[in-house]
Each structure stands twice: as structure tokens, then as C-alpha cells.
């Protein structure tokens, strides 16, 4: 098929319009009952995902609880208990909450701006709470030092490099979330700039 040069744009639009009309296999015509069933099925899947996360978090919490019970050094106990509380505080509400409803009826520029802003806030929320792990790490560190001095059995609880590693990991994660938030802010500002032109 050769298109006449005079109406290139119209022919491109015609080519575009032809797509989708001759593809019966892609036809998606859903009844209200089917859509309702689909919505319920998605909700069920989302519940299962939340349950899986809950089980995973419970396993971590059980491990931390066992350490609290096993270790006899009080500072290490306090550190681990603190870490357990922080894990529950950070991830507990997220497990129980439902997915947020997004207003898809907004204009596309506003919608994208909101999405990027929501992403930025989410990253910053996590990043700003990471410091809550620091007291737990410090308490464990202090407890290990105290155990070394007294010659208690807790000295074998964790090697020094593990504490250093957790601090380095915390700093790296902090930077990663900062970068991700900055990227989301740039994307948001870019949309804002285009929409504002």
C-alpha cells in the first residue's frame, strides 16, 4: 500500500484508527458482574500479598524475640528489643493498610505530578525513619563492649564487623532513598514545568 504524499498525516491517522478495529482477539468487553469479580479477585490477591509479608515480618520478629530471650547482656537485650519495636512501628501499619485510591479522573499532568510527589514522600518517609535503627545498633555495640570487659558469654553474640557492616548498610540505604526521592522530585518538577508552560 502506497500512501499519497498530499495527505500523509491523514493516512497515518487512518492507519492508527485501523489498529484495534480488526483485532477481535483483543476484544475486552466485560460485564458489570465480570468487572466486579475482577475487582474482588484483585482485592483477594492483595490480601494474600499482605499475609505473606506479615508471615515474613513475624519470622523476623520471632528471631529478634529469641535473641532477647537468649542473650544475657542487658544492653544487647535493650538494643534488640528496640530494633524489634522499630520494625513493628515501621512495617506494622503498612501491612494493615489498604492500597490508596488514586483519582484517575484528574488531568494527566496533575495525575503524574501527584504520582511523583507521592513517590517522593514515600521515599523520604522511609529515609527519615531509618535513624530509628541507630539507638538499637549503638546499644548492641555498647553491650558487646561491656561484655568483652566483663568476659561474659555475650561477647560471642556478634562480631565487631557485623556492627560496622550494619552502620555502613544504614548509611548506604539512607543515600539510596535520598537519591530516589531527588529523582522523584525532578520528575515532578519536570511535569510541573511542562504543564506550566
Amino acid at each position: 500500500m502506497r500512501y499519497p504524499e498530499a495527505s500523509e498525516t491523514e493516512m497515518l491517522q487512518a492507519t492508527w484508527s485501523a489498529y484495534g478495529k480488526d483485532r477481535e482477539t483483543m476484544e475486552v468487553v466485560l460485564t458489570a458482574d465480570q468487572l466486579s469479580a475482577q475487582a474482588r479477585s484483585r482485592e483477594k490477591f492483595s490480601s494474600l500479598v499482605r499475609l505473606a509479608i506479615l508471615v515474613f515480618m513475624a519470622a523476623i520478629a520471632a528471631g529478634l524475640l529469641y535473641d532477647i530471650y537468649r542473650v544475657d547482656q542487658p544492653w544487647i537485650r535493650i538494643g534488640v528489643a528496640w530494633t524489634l519495636c522499630v520494625v513493628v512501628y515501621l512495617f506494622g501499619p503498612a501491612i494493615g493498610s489498604q492500597a490508596q485510591l488514586v483519582d484517575t479522573g484528574e488531568t494527566c499532568a496533575r495525575f503524574l505530578e501527584n504520582e511523583h510527589e507521592e513517590r517522593r514522600r514515600h521515599y523520604l518517609r522511609i529515609r527519615n525513619r531509618l535513624f530509628l535503627f541507630v539507638p538499637g545498633i549503638l546499644a548492641c555495640w555498647f553491650g558487646r563492649a561491656a561484655a568483652l570487659v566483663t568476659g561474659s558469654s555475650a561477647a560471642g553474640f556478634a562480631p565487631a564487623w557485623l556492627f560496622l557492616l550494619s552502620v555502613v548498610a544504614l548509611v548506604l540505604v539512607w543515600f539510596a532513598f535520598t537519591k530516589a526521592a531527588e529523582k522523584a522530585a525532578r520528575d515532578r518538577d519536570e511535569i510541573h514545568r511542562i504543564a506550566g508552560d
Binding site: 497515518l12 484517575t104 479522573g105 494527566c108 499532568a109 496533575r110 511542562i194
Partner: protein, 165 residues
């Protein structure tokens, strides 16, 4: 209302889904997600814009969200102003399938907002209605449409030249 929108614009939604997702399986999922969101969205439809505008907004927003979610794993998307026209395949006629493939290939390299504008333009929408859907100013949309025309003509010319040779 959902049934009315689908009977009028069902084909446009299929084209839109193809513009946001190249993989057929993922595209079918996206299509279902668009239908589901459309169905849910009509509860809050308040007649402040036309049914057509509302439908396009919801469908494009779901598509754009899909692109934003998957972009982290793929290559960087280009602005329409920076897009490089690439040739597809080695030899071939400027037939409908080739032109269609070239158009969708171009669209898949664009940022979500530029995709929306180019797809709405190809649907035959004017700058005003496109501005209503996207939230950009009509002047901004007009400028982008001008660029789209040039890029599409370039796409067409290359395909036609190959067919002649």
C-alpha cells in the same frame, strides 16, 4: 455509562493500551486494568467534562502509571523534542503494518505526557480537547503537535522511500 463509553471508544482504548505496552501479555493485563479503573471511575464522574474526555483521562492515567512503574527497569524515555527517528527492519514496503509498527515504536520511546499527546493527535483530537485531557495549555499542545507532525512525516517519508527503492 461504562458500557456506553466502551461501545463508543473501545477501539481507541485498545490502541492506547498498545501505545503504553509493547508486550502482548502485559498489554492484555493493562487493558483489563484500564477497563476496571474506568468501571470504578464512573462512580465519581460529575459531568464537569465530556464522557470522552473523562474516559481518555482515566485510560491515559492508568497507562502512564503503568509506564512510570515499569520505567525503572527499562531504558530512559525521550522527550518529543529530543526523539531520534529510527528505521525499522531492513527491507520492506511502506505498507500499513510497517507504518503501524514505526508509529508504535516511536511512541514507546516517549515520555508518558508526550505519548498521550501523540496518541490523542492520532485519534484525530484537536489541541483544545487534548489540553483538556492532559492538563497542558492549548498553546503548549499546539507546539508539540507541530513537532509530532514533523516526526510522523519523517517516519512516513523514510518508509515510502524504502518502498520505492
Amino acid at each position: 455509562m461504562y458500557a456506553e463509553a466502551i461501545s463508543l471508544h473501545g477501539a481507541a482504548i485498545r490502541r492506547l493500551a498498545r501505545g503504553y505496552e509493547a508486550d502482548p501479555d502485559k498489554r492484555n493485563d493493562l487493558l483489563q486494568e484500564i477497563h476496571l479503573e474506568l468501571w470504578k471511575s464512573f462512580r465519581s464522574f460529575d459531568n464537569r467534562c465530556s464522557l470522552r474526555t473523562w474516559m481518555y483521562r482515566v485510560a491515559h492515567n492508568v497507562g502512564a502509571s503503568h509506564v512510570v512503574r515499569n520505567r525503572r527497569l527499562s531504558s530512559r524515555l525521550a522527550d518529543l523534542e529530543d526523539v531520534q527517528v529510527e528505521t525499522l527492519g531492513a527491507e520492506g514496503q511502506a505498507d500499513r503494518q510497517l507504518v503501524e509498527a514505526r508509529i508504535f515504536d516511536l511512541i514507546h520511546h516517549l515520555t508518558p505526557l508526550d505519548r498521550q499527546i501523540i496518541m490523542l493527535y492520532l485519534e484525530g483530537e484537536a489541541a483544545g480537547p487534548i489540553a483538556d485531557v492532559t492538563g497542558l495549555s492549548a498553546a503548549n499542545v499546539g507546539t508539540k503537535i507541530h513537532r509530532i507532525k514533523r516526526v510522523l512525516q519523517q517516519q512516513y517519508s523514510e518508509g515510502a522511500a524504502r518502498a520505492i527503492s
